[in-house]
């Protein structure tokens, strides 16, 4: 076979297999297959009397949703119900990403700790969670752990206003009182000032070589100014405490058991994976680097910040991107414990009107979009920590 084509990417003459003709045949076969599926689907839909198209989105949903971030009644449309689901998916995912990152970093650092006991406990945690199906973990948390909590009547009080019970978790709800907006603006200005001081300290060091406590100074500026603003504007942040009344808590922020189980399950599961990424990141940095820095008299904190972290992140970030994407996809397990996420609500809609094609297409569109956004964000972050291409 003459090898005229070369591939730049693989750099050798394996070339493309097949010619224009065979490509055309492949395309024709695939298109023919898709057309066959399409006609079959049309026929089946007609046979079963199922409508097609997205007009159903405007119809009244009539389905109850237990947990919604925006005001919802069953009188609203299907489209609105689906939106509630999307928001719930996003909400639990974002919260779980933040919490699992924090826990995962702790776990990863603990795994390489010199403290034998800490390292072993972290290893047991990781090996347990990673080798169990997430669904099992969710069921366990939902039906065993949370169900073992007391009735709201004798709920466990962690601190003032935070209660744990089998009906859910209750937290104080922050309330904006008069003067809140001016306080918020003042706080933002204080934040900008703190940030500016930090930047200025870095520039000052470049110019004169003298070190100023830039980060801590900036943080101090932010905290002191914000506290001052809080007092001056007349303490504008109140809180509404949950109160036990009748058979359940009233007021405050309520976290339903379904949401709490899903969140806890996702966080525990993903943190085990992120912990492993952090561990392999730390272990990828050669010991010689740390020893060299220590020998030069660089303090431990600076070694961590300037030698260890930048190199460890190169390994950790790409792997963690995948775990974030998995987390969002795993949040669809909500359907198994009854938290109304997008899949759960979509599944109910399919049960009502049978328009599976449209709903599944909507699910796919939303998940693909979320994944795309995560990859874009993480790739930007990754581009900042990777080696410059030479």
């Amino acid at each position: 076979m003459p090898m005229t084509k070369t591939r730049a990417k693989s750099g050798f003459a394996l070339g493309n297999i097949g010619s224009m003709a065979s490509q055309g045949v492949v395309l024709a076969v695939v298109l023919g297959f898709v057309y066959l599926l399409f006609t079959n689907t049309q026929e089946n839909l007609a046979l079963r009397g199922i409508e097609s198209g997205f007009t159903f989105l405007d119809k009244e949903a009539g389905l109850p949703i237990g947990d919604s971030l925006i005001a919802y009644t069953p009188m609203r449309s299907y489209g609105y119900a689906f939106l509630v689901g999307i928001l719930n998916t996003l909400f639990v995912s974002v919260l779980a990403i933040i919490l699992s990152t924090i826990l995962g970093v702790f776990v990863g650092v603990a795994r390489v700790s010199h403290n034998w006991l800490l390292a072993k406990v972290a290893a047991v945690y990781v090996e347990t969670l990673r080798n169990l199906p997430l669904l099992l973990t969710l069921f366990f948390i939902y039906t065993v752990v949370l169900a073992a909590l007391p009735h709201p009547r004798d709920a466990i009080q962690l601190v003032e206003g935070v209660y744990l019970s089998k009906r859910g978790f209750y937290l104080p709800r922050p309330l904006a009182e008069p003067g809140f907006w001016s306080f918020l603006i003042a706080a933002l200005i204080a934040f900008a000032l703190g940030l500016a001081f930090w930047r200025w300290a870095a520039l000052y060091k470049l110019r004169t070589g003298k070190t100023l406590p830039g980060f801590w100074g900036g943080l101090g500026i932010f905290i002191v100014l914000t506290a001052l603003a809080y007092l001056i504007t007349g303490r504008p942040v109140g809180s509404e405490l949950p109160v036990y009344a009748g058979f359940n808590f009233k007021g405050g922020l309520a976290m339903k058991p379904e949401f709490a189980s899903l969140l806890i399950g996702l966080v525990l599961y993903t943190a085990a994976y992120i912990g492993e990424n952090v561990r392999s990141g730390i272990q990828s940095v050669e010991a010689g680097q740390i020893e060299a820095a220590n020998a030069l008299g660089v303090s431990n904190a600076v070694v961590t910040r300037k030698v260890l972290l930048p190199q460890a992140l190169r390994v950790t970030i790409p792997a963690t991107t995948n775990d974030y994407a998995s987390l969002v996809k795993n949040s669809s397990l909500a359907v198994a414990i009854g938290y109304p996420d997008m899949v759960s609500i979509g599944g109910t809609i399919i049960g009502q009107n049978g328009q599976a094609v449209e709903i599944i297409a909507m699910w796919m569109a939303v998940y693909l979009t979320i994944n795309l956004i995560i990859s874009l964000g993480m790739n930007t972050l990754n581009a900042r920590v990777q080696h410059a291409e030479r």
Binding site: A13, P133, L135, F139, V335, I360
Partner: protein, 366 residues
Amino acid sequence: MSTEPIIFQPTPARAAPSSKIGAVAWLRANLFGGWKDTVVTIALLAILLATVPKLIGWLFLRATFWGDADACRLAGGACWPFIIDKFNVLMMGVYPQELGWRPGIAAIALIVLAALTYTNRMRGIVLVVAWAILPFFALIMIGGAFGMREVDQSLWGGLMLSILLALVGVIVSIPLGVMLALGRYYGSPVVKSLCIAFIELLRGVPLITILFMASVMMPLFLPPDMIINNLLRIQIAMILFSSAYMAEVVRGGLQAIPNGQTEASLALGVTRRHTIAFVIVPQALRHVLPPLIGRCIALFKDTSLVIIVGLLDFLGMIKNAALDTSWLGFQAEAYVFAAFVYWSICYSLSLYGRELERRGPSAQKR
């Protein structure tokens, strides 16, 4: 003058100081290195002392091993007779009891083959063929053919179903994944874009949506007179889902093969197709064996999702057992048992994966 040669006699090295060896030194180095370490150690010890004895008491000391539900409630510990009572259902679902020996034989075949693979007694093409035959053997034993009584697929369940779904899924999706990876890596533009679209679409959405698709949407795609049962549809969905992930793993292996291999092969006059099939793919697969094992673990864990579309796999049976009215209140035991089974299987697989990594091609280079 005496010519007695003076021979240099090194003084034997002194033993390490007692503060650097022995149990005390180990404790000091590993648990009480500084005040921070000491605080962490003491806090962890306190937590472990508060939980582990209670857990052991519940699991074993106060547990009931023989008896009925009332005996369990009296003892207050874990109730293992519940698991023993449900054992058959958990393993095989509602599969006819008198035919239980058939899945049993399939399970023994699986265990023997796994043992032969792990101990490295069987290798090369024989091993591949044996693993390729195993799922069909298991299907024949469970489903019944060649004169054995047929057992309807709606009766399959329990751990048997979980393992079967994972086994068939893995074994069929590896060749599919290799083909997709080759299409993505070497294919013509049209093939390449089709492969990329397929892989990225399946990897971009949760397995649940694909399972929903299989159970609700696939019947719409097929001609009205063609009916495929639910189990097969879900198996197909799992295979397709898994093949997209396998393809990405295999692609990593293809990228790891140096160009010299191809160039040498082409220089010897081997055709491109044969170069890919007999030079590159075998080496690539060897490279990616550990992550392929990782995908097997993931797929086995993922089989638990089939309960959402109405199959009663191991976790489904566990959930059902926990709701049995004559054993009410022993959910924890059911889930702990499920965790034990899933964990044992997944952890041994992951140990095997690490073992392969240790003796694999990428380890030799270092």
